[in-house]
Structure formats: structure tokens, C-alpha cells
């Protein structure tokens, strides 16, 4: 390209062209309408929205001309972007600036050209809006003003597209960040891995309903004097507040279980901790907490207490199912609540399933709180091992659209 056709700020100008990301995009209505309107107003056969690239002039819209782009060298638009005002050639065959141009001297026979640069808000000329005729013509000041106005419509459209694209990118970034925070928070609320307890097969799962938003469900498994403590819970609500309560519950129970404890005593402590820690009376959690002691001869002793939580189910080796636990209030709403321990023998091969209401929602219908369907599902699990129960529930939860998070824990003495 001849040096005289290159603006002084060419590298920055080309950056601006790249920034608007318009080159080689498909035709679209807004620009088509502007060129059609320009051709009609000027009563000329051809109107073009051009973008001047490093070695070519690419046409975003080309009314009356069946060409997508031309070389930068013969193109008059390359000259038109060298100045800030309109570039007018009323009779190209007589004009010293253009008479030798192949588009003028050659077959195309261009005689009239009026172009206005498309100038960005920071002063770069991306290309032009121009009108072209094969006959010489005069233009009035009024017509030039109209062409300028149409050129600013084109520029507004380009700016609009750019900011829309920025907004979409920004939203995508924000969504990604929210998702990352939610995931990090969720992971901090679940044990990294389950402890290995001799004599017990332990499985725990967490299914997330909304990846952007941390839910209130949680589970925990940790060693204690009796053997192992297991808890499944659901903090009321969602988001950061629910996560904070989940953290409180998890660490409070772990602390209590360092000494001599029973599940009912631990829930009592937790209830007092939440009630006394209230800055607003808006939070509570439901929990099922158990200590499990594997027995030397096989099987295990289980002690369980509930705080407003759905009753865990024990799937016996013979296929019968027991709901266990004594109903007691949710933790964190009122002080001085009494929780009750129940002790249950788990035989070798019996399976304990603890779950949140999100699990019931999927299996029995949203909000039903009815465990009939879960019982049927458990009875039908082939082989009756902890792994198979977990896989069956997983499969059921994975193929449903969850309205709430769902967590469950499966324990089987081996």
C-alpha cells in the first residue's frame, strides 16, 4: 500500500478496527437500512459502509454493488479516512486526485464519490459511509450534512454492538466468579474425604441444584471415641447465610464430640449455640446426628438423635425397612429444647440411609416429605450393599432437575 494512503496513527487505528470486531461479520439489517437510505436520498446506485483493514477495504454493507471487499490501493475509502471531514469527488475523471485510479479509468467507470469517515469516540477512522455514482454529480451542503448524520448512525450502531459484547463478557465473568465462590464455599462445608472406619462401609453424596448458589445441605463424618460420628443436615435458606450456619453446625458438633457425648446432648449444645448467637431470629437448621460403633463380631451399635429432620431409614438384610429416631424441634429457633437419643442395632448387612428433604423432593415429589417412594426404591436395590444404594440414589438424583440441593449418607456394617 502506498505510504501516502497510510494515516500517521495506523497501528492504533488498526487496533481500533480489531476492537470493534466487525470485519467479516455477516450482513445485518441496521447497516443495510442505512446504505439503502443513503442511496435513495442521494439518488445514486451505490452506497457502502466500509472498514479499512491493513491491506483491504471490507464492506459491512454494500447497497447496489455485488462485491464484499476490494484492495486498499485502488479504494477511494482509503483516501477518505485520511481526513476528518467528508471526502468529495464530484467528477473523478477530471479530478487530479482520482483520474488515474483504476476504478475511475477502468471498466467500473466511477465518476462521483462522497464519503464521510466513521470516527470512533477516541478519534480513529475505521472506514467510511460513502455514496457512489457512475455519472458526475454536485452535492449541496445539506446533502453532506445528511451523509454525516447517517455516518454517525452507523458509528452509534458499532458502539452499541461493542458495549453489548462487553456487557455479555462481563456478565459471563461475574457468573463464573459467583460459581467459583459458591463451589469453594460448598467444598469447605463438606469433608474432603470420608474417614476409613474398619467394619463400616460409608458412602456420602451431594447433588447441587444451582451451581451459582451454595445450598444449605451438608453432611459430615468424623472419628470419635465411640467409633464414628455421622451427620446430615439442612440449614434453612440458601447462599452465604446458610453456609455460615452450616459451618457453625459442623464445627460445633465436631467440638462437642471431642469429649464424652451423645447425639442428643450434642444437638442440645448446638441449639443453644445458634439461639444465643442470634443477631436476627431468622435461621435454623434440621439435623440427623448419629454415633456408630462397629462391633467386634460384626454389625454396629447406632445412637441417633433428630432435630426437625426427616427420619433416617434402616434397610434390613431381609428387605424390611424401619424409620428411626424421635421427632424433636429444629435447632436454633427456641432455647431449652429437648432432644432424644435412640439406640438401634445394625446387623451385618443392614444399611442406614440418612438424607435431606431435597432427596425426598426428587423421589417423592417436591415438598411432599413422604418417604413411601424412597422405601420402595431402597427395597428394590439389587444386592443390598452401601455402594449399590448410593449408586441407585445417585442415578435417580442425576436424571432429575433438582429444585433444592440433595445430600445423603449410607452406612453398612461389613
Amino acid at each position: 500500500v502506498t505510504a501516502t494512503l497510510i494515516p500517521d496513527n495506523e497501528p492504533q487505528r488498526l487496533d481500533a478496527v480489531r476492537r470493534y470486531d466487525v470485519l467479516d461479520t455477516p450482513p445485518d439489517g441496521a447497516f443495510e437500512r442505512v446504505t439503502a437510505m443513503a442511496a435513495r436520498l442521494f439518488d445514486v446506485p451505490i452506497s457502502i459502509v466500509s472498514i479499512v483493514d491493513s491491506d483491504r477495504i471490507w464492506f459491512k454493507s454494500h447497497h447496489g454493488l455485488d462485491v464484499d471487499e476490494i484492495g486498499r490501493e485502488p479504494g477511494l475509502c482509503a483516501s477518505a479516512i485520511l481526513q476528518d471531514g467528508p471526502w468529495l469527488v464530484t467528477d473523478a475523471a477530471c479530478d487530479p486526485r482520482t483520474l488515474a485510479n483504476p476504478l475511475v479509468a477502468g471498466e467500473f467507470g466511477l465518476r462521483f464519490y462522497a464519503g464521510v469517515p466513521l470516527t470512533t469516540h477516541d478519534g480513529y477512522n475505521l472506514g467510511t459511509l460513502c455514496v457512489i455514482d457512475r455519472e458526475p454529480r454536485q452535492v449541496s451542503d445539506e446533502e453532506v450534512a445528511t451523509l454525516r448524520d447517517l455516518a454517525s448512525v452507523v458509528m452509534d450502531e458499532l458502539e452499541l454492538r461493542l458495549s453489548a459484547r462487553h456487557t455479555v463478557t462481563l456478565q459471563e465473568q461475574l457468573r463464573q466468579q459467583a460459581e467459583d465462590v459458591a463451589r469453594a464455599l460448598q467444598e469447605s462445608l463438606l469433608p474432603a474425604e470420608l474417614p476409613k472406619v474398619p467394619g463400616l462401609d460409608l458412602q456420602a453424596r451431594y447433588h447441587v441444584a444451582d451451581r451459582d448458589r451454595v445450598g444449605g445441605d451438608f453432611y459430615d463424618v468424623f472419628p470419635c471415641d465411640a467409633g464414628v460420628a455421622v451427620v446430615v443436615g439442612d440449614a434453612c435458606g440458601k447462599g452465604a447465610k446458610a453456609a455460615a450456619l452450616t459451618g457453625t453446625a459442623r464445627w460445633c458438633l465436631r467440638t462437642v464430640a471431642l469429649g464424652a457425648w451423645t447425639p442428643a446432648q450434642a444437638l442440645h449444645r448446638l441449639n443453644e449455640v445458634i439461639v444465643r448467637g442470634h443477631d436476627s431470629p431468622e435461621r435454623y437448621a434440621t439435623l440427623a446426628l448419629a454415633s456408630v460403633r462397629p462391633l467386634a463380631g460384626g454389625g454396629a451399635d447406632l445412637t441417633l438423635a433428630l432435630a426437625g429432620h426427616p427420619h433416617p431409614l434402616v434397610l434390613r438384610r431381609d428387605g424390611t425397612i424401619d424409620a428411626i429416631g424421635v421427632t424433636a424441634p429444629v435447632a436454633g429457633w427456641l432455647p431449652d429444647v429437648t432432644y432424644t437419643d435412640v439406640t438401634v442395632q445394625l446387623g451385618r448387612g443392614d444399611i442406614l440411609v440418612m438424607f435431606t428433604d431435597g432427596t425426598l423432593d426428587v423421589i417423592s415429589g417436591r415438598g411432599s416429605m413422604d418417604d413411601t417412594h424412597l422405601r420402595s426404591l431402597l427395597t428394590a436395590v439389587p444386592g443390598r450393599t452401601a455402594t449399590q444404594v448410593a449408586e441407585t440414589l445417585d442415578e435417580r438424583l442425576s436424571r432429575s432437575r433438582l429444585s433444592d440441593d440433595a445430600a445423603f449418607l449410607v452406612i453398612q456394617p461389613t
Binding site: G237, T286, V330, G367
Partner: protein, 108 residues
């Protein structure tokens, strides 16, 4: 979040009793609407009794339960004896039972 358009609350006063009629899905989206409706009515009207009628509630979750517990506390503080009207609503009844809070309510 479930849309609040499946939820409605109407408050009405008669003979010193505030009747709060709750219809539809009582969840996280509905919770603030119910609590505000009750609070507003209790500010405007002097009543000795507040009856929360959940007979027509079609869905309730833990946030809905929190709303009912909050209503109970708010009415109590405003010296309006709180009561729940359950009707034959098995769904709400079951949640109250499982949550262990059924005994915290008086029933109308």
C-alpha cells in the same frame, strides 16, 4: 428461586381477629411477602388474635416453615395470640411434624 406468582396472601380483620389467608407455594420467594403482610396488618389494626390460614398452601419448604415461625413470633410480640389454621392440609402438617415444631403452634 421459585417465582412468587404462584403465591398470594390476603389479610382481613373482623371482631378483633386478623385473618391471614395464604394461597399457593410458600417458599423462599414467598417468605418476605407473607411476613411483611402480617407485620403491616398488625401495625394498622389492633387485634387480639392472628390466624394464619394455610389450608390452601400447595407447597411448603424450610423457608416457608421459617415464615410461619416468624409470623408466630411477630404476632406474639404484637399481643395478637397466634394460631394456625391447617384444615386438612396434610403437606403442611407433615412438615410441622417432621420439623418437630407442631407443638409450638396453637390451632384454629
Amino acid at each position: 428461586v421459585t417465582s412468587a406468582r404462584n403465591f398470594d396472601v390476603q389479610c382481613r380483620c373482623s371482631d378483633g381477629t386478623l385473618h391471614v389467608h395464604v394461597t399457593g407455594e410458600l417458599d423462599l420467594a414467598a417468605e418476605p411477602t407473607l411476613v411483611e403482610a402480617l407485620s403491616d396488618s398488625l401495625t394498622k389494626h389492633q387485634v387480639s388474635r392472628a390466624v394464619i390460614d394455610v389450608t390452601a398452601v400447595t407447597f411448603i419448604d424450610s423457608s416457608g416453615l421459617r415464615a410461619l415461625l416468624n409470623c408466630r413470633d411477630i404476632a406474639y410480640r404484637a399481643q395478637a395470640a397466634p394460631a394456625l389454621m391447617l384444615g386438612p392440609n396434610e403437606r403442611v402438617h407433615r412438615l410441622l411434624e417432621i420439623a418437630g415444631v407442631a407443638e409450638w403452634f396453637e390451632y384454629a
